[in-house]
């Protein structure tokens, strides 16, 4: 052994013998998991740690009162050593934390980590995602600028649209007895005490469950024995995590230099009256949904119910998608729905960004939202169809089935019908809530739901049917995955 290696080995052994690092509570990790996509959750925790450190430094100077909040933030910007740098890093790491949490969730969705026996890990992860959004919501108000206060007031105002019992409870929890001073103090307490404590408890729970179930198997390809080799947490995996954390940290630092934070003007009711409130980017998609004309005024509870329903569906995903199939090839419907979900979020967020304060006509919204879903569905269908047909052509001597164009048109017609049915169901539901129920609306709603059910069933049948001429879709994807694996 070389002298330098011997020194490093002795250093590692010293720490190991004193701290018991080679007998960690955490189980070893298979080599296939040494991949950044497996550590998106860990990177979210790294972002949380950076948030904690920068946040604690800012807490030394910040005063949570409406009179001093802005001045103390300005003081951090202008007087505290590296204060502006701290604020910038805190903000951009917060954005990164939300983005990483979302990527972690969507990766889990596509590779089916939510399935048995990890259902509760998914549920706990979803709660953690909510807490992360809560950090964003509560932290946004603290600088007490016209931008942050106006947007937060709009968010709080929406609570009034909920049923009285729920709205009074939530208002009491997040705003207190009322008034700016109580609101700011409550947000501050939530941001620096309650939410971090809740997140730490949930993180411990999730880590415990991860230890029980281990890291999930990859869905693509056949994993060779060499990739199943177990790697100890210390020093190998820890070192790998440090590498990722260091690269992530340097990226955050560079971003904070390229886009340094500027403090908007202090909040005052007069200035707020001239300002169009707009939430931060991660809430823009909800903001855009709420701006659709049918959800204005009395329709607001319906919009909030729809958003809540979406979150409930995400929470309950492991109990809805109960099939044991994990491969992308075996889950065309869920894969397509996942892609549609991501695409709709991006479209709505961007649309919200470029149309601040603008009411969106329902027809326009139905066209954009339905059109996006339709395009994604067609592209997804096309990708499955073309990709697997090509593979089949290369591997089979059987003649091709001649009905592909008709199948494509059938699928397009079904997707159009589906978009129409969804739009009509939403429209009629809102009309019933706003104007009351009559025979005509009941008939319209029933026919829309029947049409929607028909489209879903017919699509499922069509997807099943297109497998027939060229063999099983899942077999074709397995073949592709094997080819990719072998080419590596």
């Amino acid at each position: 052994m070389r002298k330098e290696d011997e020194i490093v080995a002795r250093l590692v052994a010293w720490f190991d013998s004193r701290l018991g690092l080679s007998h960690p509570m955490l189980r070893p990790v298979p080599e296939y998991a040494v991949n950044p996509f497996y550590w998106l959750g860990a990177l979210t925790v790294v972002a949380f740690v950076i948030q904690g450190v920068t946040g604690m430094l800012m807490m030394l100077y910040y005063v949570p009162s409406p009179i001093q909040a802005f001045q103390s933030t300005q003081y951090i910007f202008q007087q505290v050593y590296y204060g502006r740098f701290l604020e910038s890093v805190h903000l951009y790491t917060a954005y990164a934390m939300i983005m990483l949490a979302f990527m972690h969730m969507m990766r889990g969705y596509f590779v089916s980590v939510h399935k048995k026996p990890r259902e509760m890990m998914w549920v706990v992860g979803m709660v953690m995602g909510f807490v992360t959004l809560g950090f964003g919501f509560t932290g946004y108000l603290l600088p007490w600028t016209v931008v942050s206060k106006s947007a937060t007031d709009v968010g709080i105002g929406m609570i009034d649209a909920l049923p009285a019992q729920i709205s009074s409870l939530i208002s009491f929890l997040i705003v207190g007895a009322g008034g700016d001073a109580t609101e700011l103090l409550r947000f501050y307490d939530l941001h620096v005490v309650v939410l971090p404590a809740v997140l730490l408890v949930l993180l411990t729970l999730k880590m415990y469950m991860l230890e029980c179930h281990g890291i999930s198997e990859p869905v693509a390809g056949v994993v060779g024995q060499e990739k199943r080799r177990l790697i100890p947490i210390f020093p190998d995996v820890s070192l790998y995590l440090l590498e990722l954390a260091a690269v992530f940290g340097s990226a955050m630092l560079l971003i904070s230099v390229i886009f340094p934070l500027n403090l908007p003007p202090q909040y005052s009711p007069q200035l707020a009256a001239q300002f169009t409130p707009q939430p931060d980017w991660y809430f823009l998609w909800i903001y855009q949904i709420l701006k659709i004309s049918i959800f204005e005024g009395a329709g607001l509870p319906v919009a909030l119910s729809l958003v809540t329903l979406l979150f409930i569906l995400l929470f309950l995903l492991p109990f809805i998608d109960r099939s044991e199939k994990r491969r992308l090839s075996d889950r065309p419907i869920f894969v397509t729905l996942g892609v549609i979900f991501v695409a709709e979020l991006i479209v709505l967020a961007y649309w919200g960004l470029i149309t601040p304060g603008q009411i969106i006509p329902f027809e326009q919204a139905a066209l954009v939202i339905g059109g996006t879903a339709l395009i994604i569905a067609l592209v997804s269908f096309g990708a499955y169809w073309v990709l697997f047909s090509r593979i089949k052509r290369q591997t089979s001597s059987r003649p091709q089935a001649p009905t592909k164009l008709a199948t494509l048109f059938s699928f397009g017609a079904l997707a159009t019908g589906g978009a129409f049915a969804i739009g009509n169901t939403m429209n009629t539901t809102v009309n019933i809530i706003v104007q009351g129920l009559d025979w005509w609306k009941a008939l319209l709603l029933t026919s829309s739901i029947i049409m929607l059910a028909f489209v879903i069933l017919a699509s499922a049948l069509l997807i099943y049917r297109i497998e027939l001429p060229n063999g099983s879709l899942s077999r074709r994807i397995r073949f592709l995955e094997k080819m990719i694996h072998e080419s590596k």
Partner: protein, 86 residues
Amino acid sequence: MNRNDLVVTVLVILQLLSTNYLWGLDAASSVSQARFAIFLAIDLLSFAMIAYIYRKVGWREQTYRIWLLLGSFGLVLLLVSSLIFT
């Protein structure tokens, strides 16, 4: 001295220079904030590269040249940024 040793030596020297520079910055100046961030990023990226090499050597695997080149490109980018943004 093999390639890995050479890269690690250069990176450690870069880290030492960068850390020394960080301690000498005038913390009250606004220009220093950008410099501080950039040179801290250089330290972190150098650390990531050293950790990568050490890990690969420990696993008796070859270090991928592409990662080392990307890391070096990142370091050059940061050094250039220090001229542009300060």
